[in-house]
């Protein structure tokens, strides 16, 4: 039994109808009405009157607030809300160093923020390329999470054999390695509880008739290396200084990220995979750089996912207008392209016969505008995209911005129902 079969009776009818709208959009067929997604992270804290820290740490409270929002707005698809918010205890247990989150570097009522740093040095490309797993174990993991500190002393596995294999495991007796293993096991037990709560929320919502907009979350090869390894400026310099090694690592990352994404998505039971995209925007690199470094490894990854029956849903952040013709090169009816600041009408004109679209009410409008302005923005998208045949899933530019007032969320849903069924 999959998550799609959990609902019964009226809830099952509602679940199937909502899910069918998503599937129709993906397949470029006309749904019975324009679907609207409810997606947000720290917006839930504002909505529920709880702190950002409570949202990240209190599994039950977060699930209850999310469920209340879903019941109030009656969306067609929902975020895996607990999964994308309540990681606080797990982050703490693993000693995660790449984020600052409420109680750990930022105040109790602030969202978590990523720390852009150089987590992989420029002279480590060869190590990473030669043995990604060994590089992870002995170099990368201790750098990004304190629970792994001690893994530096792990043996070099490739080459262990026969009596060398027996002697080779001696490092596991070292106090540093023992302590690290104990911490990792303790962290994994917390992560197990976290994922258990996240899955329970998703299943509870499915039983009540609400399908998810995505299960797994993945990353593009370029963003993977830029954000989580080399850092923003390190990566930009590598485009000139380490071009060949960077291209080799992008290609390799494309392969292992595809495998990992397929495995994670199968576990989630959801075919739609969200892929936040950070480094594709027009301003971040030239067209030639985009076509050399960014797009080929990501396209290969999307093709691998499509072949495995998955639906890639990249969230193209910022303005990607100049990329539209290039990212059009994908089989029709297989993806959802979520745009943040790209003009949706232009995106529809270029991509409307290839992909479903998602978005994109602007954060400045949603946080500082009036309900009637939200209404007008929805009508603009309905008139110029949906009514002209665009398979649009209405949403905020990246879900609901944290500070969005409830009346503007209400205006978004009311306008969608008024103008598009």
């Amino acid at each position: 039994m999959t998550i799609h079969d959990l609902a019964r009776g009226d809830a099952k009818v509602a679940y199937d109808a909502r899910r069918q709208r998503l599937l129709d959009c993906i397949a470029l067929k006309q749904p019975d009405r324009m679907p609207v997604a409810l997606y947000g992270t720290f917006w839930l804290a504002k909505y529920g009157g709880i702190t950002c820290k409570e949202l990240m740490y209190d599994y039950e409270k977060t699930a209850a607030v999310a469920a209340r929002a879903v019941e109030e707005f009656e969306p067609d698809a929902i975020a895996p809300f607990v999964q994308v918010t309540a990681a606080g205890k797990s982050l703490e247990a693993i000693g995660f160093k790449q984020l600052q989150w409420p109680g750990h570097g930022v105040g109790d009522n602030q969202p978590f923020q990523y720390l852009d740093r150089e987590y992989m040095k420029a002279d480590e490309y060869d190590d990473f390329l030669f043995d990604p797993t060994g590089y992870y174990l002995r170099t990368y993991l201790p750098r990004v999470a304190s629970a792994f500190e001690g893994f530096e002393d792990l043996p070099i596995f490739p080459g262990l054999h026969y009596f060398r294999l027996v002697a080779g495991i001696r490092p596991f007796a070292k106090p540093s390695v023992r302590a690290a293993l104990e911490k990792v096991i303790a962290a994994a037990e917390e992560v197990d509880r976290f994922v258990g709560h996240a899955v329970a929320f998703n299943e509870d919502m499915a039983r009540k008739g609400w399908p998810l907009i995505n299960g797994a979350i993945a990353v593009s090869p370029y963003d993977f290396i830029a954000d989580y390894f080399r850092g923003a400026t390190g990566m930009m310099k590598d485009l000139f200084r380490h071009k060949d090694k960077l291209l080799a690592l992008l290609d390799k990352a494309s392969d292992f990220l595809t495998r990992q994404t397929i495995a994670t998505a199968k576990l989630s039971g959801q075919e739609i995979v969200m892929i936040p995209i950070h480094w594709a925007p027009d301003a971040f690199m030239s067209g030639k750089q985009f076509e050399t470094f960014w797009w080929p490894p990501f396209r290969k990854m999307m093709m691998g996912m499509i072949d495995a029956g998955l639906v890639p849903m990249p969230l193209w952040e910022a303005d990607c207008t100049k990329r539209l013709e290039i990212i059009r090169d994908i089989p029709a009816g297989k993806c959802i392209y979520w745009f943040e600041r790209t003009d949706m009408v232009k995106a529809f004109e270029v991509l409307g016969d290839v992909v479903a679209l998602r978005g994109n009410l602007s954060p400045s409008l949603m946080t500082t505008g009036k309900p009637e302005e939200v209404d007008a923005a929805v009508k603009h998208l309905v008139d110029n995209v949906w009514a002209k045949g665009g398979k649009l899933i209405l949403d905020g530019a990246f879900g609901l911005a944290d500070e969005t007032p409830v009346e503007n969320v209400r205006a978004m849903f009311d306008a969608a129902r008024r103008y598009a069924g």
Binding site: F240, F284, L365
Partner: protein
């Protein structure tokens, strides 16, 4: 500027992002041939004018600005110790800019690039970091007396932080002493109007253009 062939080659390699070649010539000029370090730095600025122009024309993007900054840092580190004391008087700056990321926000990539571009375009820039409390802005402004204050922010929470910060400038009676520009991933005209800033920019070159127009320097 009149240039000999070697100087022309340095400017061309810098402007064309040919780092190895550019650094080789700069090191040779400074360390072997005893070239005037102020002259070498002037050549670097000439190359950066070309980089800025190519950025404005859509040929160059962030990676080129970042690499250009690196090349300038490397050459500057060699050239500056060679400048004789009596020659070292600061060149006339176009104006003073105070810049920081508003409270609640820790992002700094965009702010750092704006700081670099203002610096190489002849402004004196003081960068007071990230997550800057309102009171710190006020204190720093009183001490530094800038012509322009730049508020940076990437998160949507920065909308309110910017509004509060600019309101505090009003309350402190200093709002008319300088111009305020804002920038960051989510900033648009709606946010500018909401915060009460004088202008917003979507990239570092726009920030330079705003500062030049406000300080009377030809854009």
């Amino acid at each position: 500027m009149d240039m000999n062939p070697q100087e022309e080659a340095l400017v061309k390699h810098l402007a064309d992002m040919e780092e190895d070649e550019a650094l080789e010539i700069a090191k040779r000029m400074l360390l072997e041939e005893g070239a005037d370090p102020l002259r070498v730095l002037e050549l670097c600025r000439t190359a950066m004018d070309v980089v800025g122009k190519r950025f404005e024309e859509g040929e160059y993007f962030l990676p080129e600005l970042v690499l250009a900054g690196e090349m300038l840092d490397t050459i500057g580190a060699i050239a500056k110790p060679l400048i004789k004391q009596d020659e070292g008087g600061a060149s006339k700056k176009l104006g003073k800019v105070l810049i920081g990321t508003v409270h609640g926000d820790l992002h700094d990539i965009g702010k750092n690039i704006v700081t670099f571009m203002l610096d190489i375009n002849g402004f004196e820039v003081k960068d007071i970091g990230v997550d800057v409390p309102v009171a710190t802005f006020i204190d720093e402004i009183k001490a530094y007396e800038p012509d322009v204050v730049g508020l940076s922010g990437f998160l949507t929470l920065a909308f309110d932080s910017m509004k509060e910060t600019i309101a505090a400038f009003e309350a402190a009676g200093m709002r008319s002493d300088f111009k305020v520009m804002i920038g960051g991933g989510q900033i648009d005209e709606t946010v500018r109007a909401y915060t009460g800033a004088d202008a917003f920019g979507v990239n570092a070159v726009e920030a330079v253009g705003l500062c030049k127009s406000w300080t009377g320097a030809a854009a």
